[in-house]
Amino acid sequence: MPQLPVEPAKAVSEILSRYHGDPARMIEILQDLQEIYRYLPKEVIEEVSHQTEIPINRIYHIATFYKAFHLEPRGETIITVCTGTACHVRGSFRTLDLLSERLGVKPNETSGDLKYTLETVGCVGACALGPIVIINGKYYGHMTPDRMDRVLKRMGIIEKYS
């Protein structure tokens, strides 16, 4: 287990004070903690339970229920494919399949070397630009497998096409 960058007890008490320790803000509390660690390590969830006195079974349920939360470390590069309806009918699934093939990871999984996370999102609300792919926060519109492959090559994610 790698060392956590911030001591969970400290991080948790800091975030909790932001919300005056109000456990009704659990979703936000966990989101803020995740921003620090990029995922929710077990120790952090245990610490939240300890400090809020909310039973851990409930926090664990929340952390596994909402899509915002990740209980495993994520990749350095996060590639998000919008699979909203507008993107889907314009063929975003083909781009997703291609990415899966290229990165060797299934949708919503992270590569073993923690380099890439391939994830899907319901809709980012920019349907007119679809299909949309977001790479580390940057939006790419009108994506097709061909254009995606070119982006991957440009970014050095693949060396050659075939």
Partner: protein, 622 residues
């Protein structure tokens, strides 16, 4: 900004700001909402700012006397980034940062129109200089979106300068709470979040409850994967929502409000937060609003990413810091909702209608719409349509008008096939129903739903079985998993649909799928499960042939279902240029340079890159 303590403060402020604003009649608007920014409007904004400064003017302007405004979306998203020059409303499309110089010098300073940036009539190819003459806008009625383009949404002064918070003033100082409820009832406003419940009746029920504390909530979870009007409203005109909520709170006697915002919408979150802070600082939220003794405040609740969290009981559970699991509603939220207190939950767009109704009156409002559904509705017109974006039309407008008059029809030479409304809870409607007026009841009767207003246009290259499978796949993952019919029923529906798209289903499976659909609708706990089968039932109803083709002939007529299609190279057209061969990610294409290429169907992963890159149209789907 100084605090508004009483009626006169707001009236004076409005007077001053209005005059101030009028001093600068000519100004440039650039849409800077999420959708526009993704097309590079941010850079256009910066470039314009620089050019205006270079011309010796102050781009920021003073207060509301602005020359350049970053505004909410103008809706015509397929033409983004869009720049509009007021007061004439000269409409420039697909603007690049390099155009800024010309826009400032020619149009802003010299009133010259730059033809190459104009929208062209698709039929006559004639340029159309003014926004109001463009078919996309001409056929709309923009009430809720009226402020998009003319105000900077992050400034409360801008909102006040065009008459913002006047409805609140009227409500709080000239009307009693029951009168407001009566007005909203009379307006026949129906909830825009999907189910179309009459808003006034909901308010009336909450108003009559006796309770130490009551809540109002704005539902900005917008989970429909193909709709973004709520995002756009919150980003482009957040104060109209806040104003609506304060009026609603006053009408029902609530002291506390929440806006529940979907986490995928960081900009909407930001603008809603800013609007609340500014309104509080101005004295329009907090204690003793406008000196009337009425106190009310709003908090933001951030969602965690779950479609089901948009369901009313789940949303309230989520605000309480629990998993978004619905429970039965035999006791209404207006009696016992959030923290078991009387609660009014309305959608973003519903709240935004309230100031309009109070300002103009229920009678005026009643002139728009149909007998039973009044007002306008915003739709997100997306998919295979030529003009895509947000459109606002009176309820009762026909599908054809929206899709063809405003949307310009299908983007390619392909034919229109179907329109999906209501998102995952809705259905798919065929061409024969295009003349149907859009309202809550007609859509439901046709097997679809109004939903939140997603409208996805599909052409011949969309497979209806694949669409049904798409929605069920989405819903099976988004279901909370609490109740059996939804969780297990969707799992089995997905299995059957998947087998159909793979050519492995039987005709009996079709019957089972239909029966199961009815049970899931009947027996599920919440609206998610109760409407989940709609995409399946509507496609079965209107496009049964397509299901049969998959099952019986193992054929996908639209050429979409990967297991049933094969890419092939037409020997007569292939020049052996190697273009596809070098690009195939799995090396499935054989053939030397100058020789006809061939695709190995066993290696092929059906990505279609070969078809995309072939310049000789030599690749086709068998």
């Amino acid at each position: 900004m100084r605090s508004i303590r009483k009626k006169e403060d707001l009236l004076n402020l409005y007077e001053n700001l209005r005059k101030e604003r009028e001093k600068q009649g000519k100004f440039i608007s650039v849409c800077v909402d999420t959708g526009c920014l993704a097309t590079g409007s941010g850079a256009v904004f910066s470039a314009l700012k620089e050019e205006i400064a270079k011309a010796g003017l102050n781009p920021e302007g003073e207060g509301v006397k602005k020359i350049l405004r970053g505004t909410g979306s103008l809706g015509f998203d397929s033409e983004n980034p869009v720049v509009v020059i007021y007061p004439e409303k000269i409409f420039y499309r697909k603007v690049r940062p390099g155009d800024a110089k010309y826009i400032v010098h020619k149009t802003l300073l010299n009133g010259e129109i730059i033809e190459r940036l104009l929208y062209k009539d698709p039929e006559t190819n004639e340029p159309i200089p003014y926004l109001d003459d463009i078919p996309f806008y001409k056929h709309q009625k923009r009430l809720l979106l009226a402020n998009h383009g003319i105000i900077d949404p992050l400034s409360i002064e801008e909102y006040i300068s065009i008459g913002g918070y006047q409805a609140l003033l009227k409500a709080l100082t000239e009307m009693e709470p029951p009168q407001i409820v009566e007005e909203v009832k009379k307006s026949k406003l129906r909830g825009r979040g999907g189910a179309g419940f009459p808003t006034g009746i909901k308010w009336e029920d909450a108003a009559k409850r006796d309770s130490d504390i009551k809540y109002v909530i704005c539902n900005a979870d917008e989970g429909d994967p193909g709709a973004y009007m709520d995002r756009s409203l919150l980003e482009g005109d957040p104060h109209s929502v806040v104003e609506g909520m304060i009026i609603g709170a006053y009408a029902v006697g609530a002291s506390h409000g929440y806006i529940y915002v979907r986490r995928e919408y960081p900009k909407a979150l930001e603008s809603a937060t800013k609007a609340i802070e500014d309104a509080r600082e101005a004295g329009l939220l907090g204690d003793n609003i406008l000196g009337t003794g009425f106190s009310f405040d709003i908090e933001i609740a951030r969602g965690g990413g779950a479609f089901v969290a948009g369901e009313s009981t789940a949303l309230m559970a989520s605000i309480e810091g629990k998993p978004a699991e619905p429970h039965t509603k035999y006791i209404h939220a207006t009696q016992a909702g959030l923290y078991s207190k009387p609660t009014v939950l309305n959608n973003v767009e519903t709240w935004a209608n309230v100031p309009i109704i109070i300002n103009k009156g229920a009678d005026w409002y009643g002139n728009i719409g149909t007998e039973k559904s009044k007002g306008t509705k915003i739709f997100s017109l997306v998919g295979a349509v030529k003009n895509s974006g947000l459109v606002e039309v009176p309820i009762g407008t026909t599908l054809r008008e929206v899709i063809f008059d405003i949307g310009g029809g299908i983007a390619s030479e392909k034919k229109f096939k179907a329109v999906q409304t209501g998102g995952p809870s809705g259905g798919v409607l065929p061409e024969s129903l295009l003349d149907m007026p859009i309202d809550f009841d007609t859509l439901t009767k046709a097997g679809s739903m109004m939903g939140s207003g997603g409208m996805i246009i599909m052409d011949e290259h969309t497979c209806m079985v694949d669409v049904a499978r798409y929605y069920i796949d989405f819903l099976s993952k988004e279901s909370c998993g609490k109740c059996t019919p939804c969780r297990e029923g969707l799992r089995q529906m997905l299995d059957i649909l998947t087998r159909i798209t793979q050519g492995e289903a039987t005709m009996d499976d079709l019957d089972l799928l239909e029966e199961l659909s009815y049970v899931v609708k009947d027996a599920s706990l919440c609206g998610l499960g109760q409407t989940a089968p709609n995409p399946v039932l509507s496609t079965l109803k209107y496009f049964r042939d397509e299901y049969v083709a998959h099952v019986r002939d193992k054929h996908c007529p639209a050429g979409v279902c990967a297991a049933l299609i094969e890419y092939e190279i037409i020997p007569e057209k292939c020049t052996g240029c190697l273009a596809c061969k070098v690009r195939c990610p799995v090396g499935a294409i054989e053939g030397e340079k100058g020789e006809v290429h061939k695709i190995d169907p066993d290696k092929c992963i059906r990505c279609g890159i070969c078809m995309e890159v072939c310049t000789f149209d030599a690749v086709r789907i068998k």
